[in-house]
Amino acid sequence: MCEDKSVMMSRRTLLAGGASAALALPVLAKDMVDLRLPGGPSLRSLDPAFPGKGKLIVQRVHPPLLETPFSVFDQGVMTPNDQFYVRWHYPMPTEIKVTDFRLQVRGAVKAPLSLALEEVVKSGEIIELAAVNQCAGNGRGQFVPRIPGAQWGPGAMGNAEWRGVRLRDLLDKAGLNADAKFVRFGGLDEPPVPDAPAYRKSVPIDIARRDDVMVAFAMNGEALPLLNGYPLRLVVPGWYATYWVKMLSDIEVLTSEDDSFWMAKAYRMPTVPVKPGDKDFPTTPIGAMVPRAWITNHADGDRIAAGKPIELRGIAMGGDCGIAKVDVLIGDKILCATLGPDEGQYGFRRWSLTLPDAVGPIGPRCTNVKSVSQPLEQDWNPNGYARGGVEFISLVQA
């Protein structure tokens, strides 16, 4: 699959990966983590604790922004519910009354629906699949130059087994009109000031009708935690989490492209290469994820015994399709990693490799089955979305 061959790595790439390598980890107060964001501030607290959650990195209490500590990703390819990251834009409802809850299906449909939870789960075949849910801004805090917004390290993501009913079955139950073009989703969260734009996201009808796009009611075999969107959330495998609307209560079929704030102004990617400071470039809504890979058993700057082989392991994701290969770039070499079992094309997959030594920056590079390979440098964009370049670390020989 992947063969050993030499590449010329530019000095810039080496510097980009190894800049902070020589720094030893600072001694931290209990329950603090250092996300090592370039230029800081970088320290985050694991307090306060949130109900139903274990230790998470508290980026913001209100509305909750909680990051999964990276060590969790070394423990397995599934992310446990109590360690799954949390991201709300607006104040989240803290109570769900089952008898009051309704899911609306409305807009360009023949028969609008207002479904109780028991009706939702009986709307079609129940399907289940593993998929990575990743915030579009995951790793925003790692970009240089830095970008305002949620200052995530690499842990605004998780992989879970999602179970639910197909969105398509709900749409067909309502009956799509011939002019249906997009489907818009809303949840129970509301802006703190009423005339601010409600959080609504939409996808083209062909995405909405995909076989694997679902309204999920379970995550890793249990009801969704409230913080992750109980009782229902949209799951769009292979697409960024901005579309996976939590506490999903409203499905609206549109006859034209959505021009509301969260589609037309936010969560957009430039369609041309941009540099910091550029203005007035064309953009399009962010959509499918890109391939990524990380080392999980060593952090940048870890000390290792000199002259001994080192075991590397990590996780990778294909983005919007499966993984073809993971190779590891070290110095001027490319080595082929061994892949763990395939537990679903949209999930994380383990990789591992034993290196004879660890001189220079080391970075795992994922290539997906569509032959998309991670670039060696991070594609900077003004909102810090879709980070996907090879993540290099350097190990210090002790």
């Binding site: 964001l37 230029g39 800081g40 501030p41 985050r44 607290s45 306060p48 604790a49 949130f50 109900p51 139903g52 508290v58 980026q59 913001r60 209490v61 209100h62 509305p63 909750p64 446990p80 104040p91 989240m92 803290t94 109570e95 769900i96 009354k97 089952v98 809850f101 939870l117 028991e118 789960v121 075949e125 129940i126 399907i127 289940e128 805090g141 830095r146 970008i147 305002p148 200052q151 087994e161 179970r163 802006p191 703190p192 000031v193 005339d195 601010a196 734009p197 009611f217 379970a218 890793n220 075999g221 249990e222 009801a223 935690p225 409230l226 913080l227 109980y230 009782p231 704030f261 102004k265």
Partner: protein, 106 residues
């Protein structure tokens, strides 16, 4: 929240069990209070008055060092997009507080 399904372990062993739903029960949680406040210095009163209604102070304090025009852009966005009722008279104090927040760390 009531847990009614087989444990994750069981689930992994028995592969996927299509057809199984969960039992929906009323659920509620109590969110914790903020533990990080705006450091007290010139302008912190203006920050508390204008910038703490919609999000924790950490939304501001965790930002990287930004230039004054970037901060001005953020304040404009708060007002224009999120309809933040920011007191015009407080704006100079907010600006200088944010400028100090972005000062090089010593």
């Amino acid at each position: 929240m009531k847990r009614v399904l087989a444990s994750m372990l069981l689930l992994a062993l028995s592969a996927c069990q299509p057809g199984e739903t969960v039992e929906f029960a009323d659920a509620s949680i109590e969110l914790p209070e903020d533990v990080v406040a705006f450091p007290v210095r010139a302008g912190s009163d203006a920050m508390i008055r204008n910038c703490s209604a919609c999000h924790s102070p950490s939304m501001v304090l965790n930002q990287p060092k930004l230039k004054p025009d970037q901060w001005a852009g953020i304040i404009k966005k708060m007002k224009d997009v999120y309809k933040a009722p920011i007191n015009r008279a407080d704006e100079p104090a907010i600006q200088s507080y944010l400028k100090a927040t972005s000062a090089p760390l010593r």
